[in-house]
């Protein structure tokens, strides 16, 4: 799933919908019907991650009359949907005792960086976590290193430091508490929290 495609589709859809809304003056029953269908289409896209950007455009342009309800979909809401999407892909995993961001997370972090650059008012918290191998006092320092590595990566993509804060949980907040190697791999992570 390509997040930036969704972003693009929303960027296109929003002005179209807003435009359509401006030209409207009709009865509420039609409005209601259009409202639900328009909203549904947009949110479906966001939720399911359908990448057909054409469908969004069709929804907007199809309604040649009366679409004032879509004004519900404000810029804030679009942003929220993007954040919701980013929240689904917000974890960077690390190797044992490793603190470097590996190449496989390049696209994920690029999406986050694009969003943060486009929305300078948005702040993100990077949580650093470690597995329970080693000691709590070392692991909390290691978690901080991991969070810092993600910050540096985002900085290099152009995100301002003022938008980012960090906190290390060390080994104190595992997602998998089963004390197994599989659990450890899940727990060595940095999480981007909006």
């Amino acid at each position: 799933m390509q997040l930036n495609k969704i972003l693009k589709s929303l960027v296109i859809a929003l002005p179209m919908l807003t435009l359509a809304a401006c030209s409207s003056t009709t009865d509420s029953t039609t409005n209601d019907g259009v409202e639900s269908s328009a909203q549904q289409t947009v949110s479906d896209t966001a939720v399911n991650g359908n990448t057909g950007s054409g469908s969004n455009v069709v929804v907007g342009s199809d309604t040649d009359v009366s679409i004032d309800p879509v004004e519900n979909l404000t810029a804030e809401e679009v942003k929220k949907q993007v954040i919701d999407e980013l929240r689904k892909r917000h974890v960077v995993y690390f190797g044992f005792d490793q603190q470097a961001v590996t190449a496989q997370y390049g696209e994920l972090l690029q999406d986050h960086a694009n969003f943060l650059i486009d929305n300078p008012a948005v702040k993100v918290l990077i949580e650093g976590h470690a597995d329970e191998r080693g000691t709590p006092g070392y692991n909390i320092a290691l978690g901080e290193r991991r969070a810092d590595a993600v910050v540096k990566y985002l900085n290099n993509l152009g995100v301002s430091s003022s938008q980012i804060s960090t906190v290390s949980y060390g080994e104190e907040k595992p997602v998998d508490t089963s004390h197994t190697d599989a659990a450890f791999a899940q727990n060595r992570r940095a999480v981007l929290v909006y």
Partner: protein, 456 residues
């Protein structure tokens, strides 16, 4: 003899009343030693005119457990005792000699008008008692020797904390038999986690044996690294309740807590200096984890390490003149020591893939730490004079070792049957016991200092 004063000074110890949590820990011995010395603790005789209250603590049983938990003694089962004498004069030495026990503890409990209990107890050596039955001829006179009576003490006790009375008596017995000060009247602080709870993270204290458990603090966010002040009346710890690191000092007497104004970044691992005037801590305000010392009175902060690698897990030497810590300055984590006067740093560990979380034993002779060998983390001990390293535990995820104030035992956290629990190991590694929690996971144990002052 000022011993009765010592006895009474027990009351002065300030102990708090906090809600009791019923999920207690209980010691289960997993590895004993065959060198444990056989002793017997005879049930104490009730001298009241009314019957003994049914819910009264079995003092002798708690003492026997203490002696057994030390790993150095093997108390005789009650069913195997030839008799239950209440005073030394009633002891049948021949019969006790048969059982093979080295010493017996006998005692009486007398209820006083004011509600307190008067406890009289004696520690008697069986072999010399047997020998002393025959009067000795000294300077042409027949003298009955009483040097087999090792302790003969009487004290009046409040019944508010009956187990603490037993621990106090155990301390006397242990010191008499081993020459080492007893550490039974001590506590542990630890963190318990139950992810099903609304407040999963709890900071608790209990007696050393897991009894008298009290919840001090519960939180939706992690609580870390409790550390006792030298009086045993305060605890410093890190809490993430505000979604960031904050160091708090909890006063067990007033039950109030005080925040150390946080610095930017990590604020972790507070440890009281031996004189209680300072806290060592690890801060990342300069970009990476470094060791600092914070003066509690002047609030002045002193940076001890400047290093691009991680410096963490600082712990004071018992004399307060140096601090040991974990550092990555040489690549992998190893233990270093900084002299607080000269600020000179020297590396202490050279064995194993990594060594972490150091502390120095109260006698200053040993370094206790967590060592990584063949992918497993275990608690090890290094002799600071010759560098000899001994493995104390055999776990895979053993951590957070904390040394008893008399240096005889280490409490640490380990994983047993998929759950994090506390364990005890003797300083020689030969005796092991676990303290399984009734629910959830338990970690980050910190052994308190002695809770009674030593006055002779």
């Amino acid at each position: 003899m000022s011993i009765s004063k010592r006895f009474l000074s027990f009351f002065i110890v300030c102990l708090m009343q906090i809600q009791i949590a019923h999920a207690a820990l209980e010691i289960v011995i997993t590895e004993g030693t065959n060198s444990a010395r056989p002793v017997a603790v005879v049930p104490f005789k009730w001298l009241g005119t009314q019957p003994q209250p049914k819910d009264m603590t079995d003092f002798a049983s708690v003492i026997a457990d203490d002696l057994r938990n030390s790993g150095r003694f093997s108390p005789l089962e009650r069913s195997l005792m030839p008799q239950t004498p209440a005073t030394e004069s009633a002891v049948d030495y021949a019969a006790w000699k048969e059982t093979g026990v080295e010493a017996i503890v006998i005692g009486t409990i007398k209820p006083l008008q004011d509600g307190r209990l008067q406890i009289h107890f004696q520690l008697v050596n069986v072999l010399s008692g047997f020998k002393n039955q025959t009067p000795q001829k000294i300077d042409e006179q027949l003298v009955k020797n009483t040097d087999h009576i090792k302790l003969n003490l009487k004290g009046n006790f409040s019944t508010r904390r009956p187990r603490h009375i037993s621990h106090r008596l155990s301390d006397y017995i242990f010191e008499n038999l081993t020459g080492i000060r007893g550490a039974f009247l001590t506590r542990i602080a630890y963190v318990a986690i139950n992810y099903d709870d609304k407040y999963p993270f709890k900071l608790l204290i209990s007696d050393y044996d897991g009894m008298n458990q009290h919840v001090l603090f519960r939180s939706t966010e992690p609580v870390m690294s409790p550390s006792w002040d030298p009086t045993g009346k305060k605890l410093a710890y890190m809490s993430m309740e505000d979604k960031k690191h904050e160091i708090w000092i909890y006063d067990l007497v007033t039950q109030k807590r005080e925040l150390i104004e946080p610095y930017k970044g990590s604020n972790i691992l507070p440890v009281f200096s031996p004189d209680g005037s300072k806290l060592s801590m690890v801060l990342s305000k300069s970009g990476q984890a470094d060791v600092y010392v914070y003066d509690l009175k002047t609030k002045k902060l002193d940076r001890l390490t400047k290093n691009r690698g991680i410096d963490t897990e600082a712990s004071w030497a018992p004399d307060g003149k140096s601090i040991v810590f974990t550092s990555e300055r040489g690549g992998r984590p190893q233990i270093y020591q900084i002299n607080l006067e000269s600020k000179k740093i020297k590396r202490l560990t050279f064995e194993g893939n990594a060594n972490l979380n150091p502390s120095i034993s109260p006698d200053g002779k040993n370094l206790v730490m967590v060592s990584l060998q063949k992918g497993k983390y275990s608690v090890t001990k290094q002799d600071l004079s010759d560098g000899y390293v001994q493995k104390l535990t055999n776990g895979r995820l053993d951590k957070s070792p904390s040394i008893a104030p008399n240096g005889s035992m280490v409490i640490y956290s380990t994983v047993v049957k998929g759950k994090q629990v506390l364990s005890l190991v003797s300083m020689d590694g030969r005796f092991k016991a676990v303290l399984p929690a009734s629910d959830g996971e338990v970690k980050a144990p910190a052994w308190s200092p002695f809770l009674t002052s030593k006055k002779n």
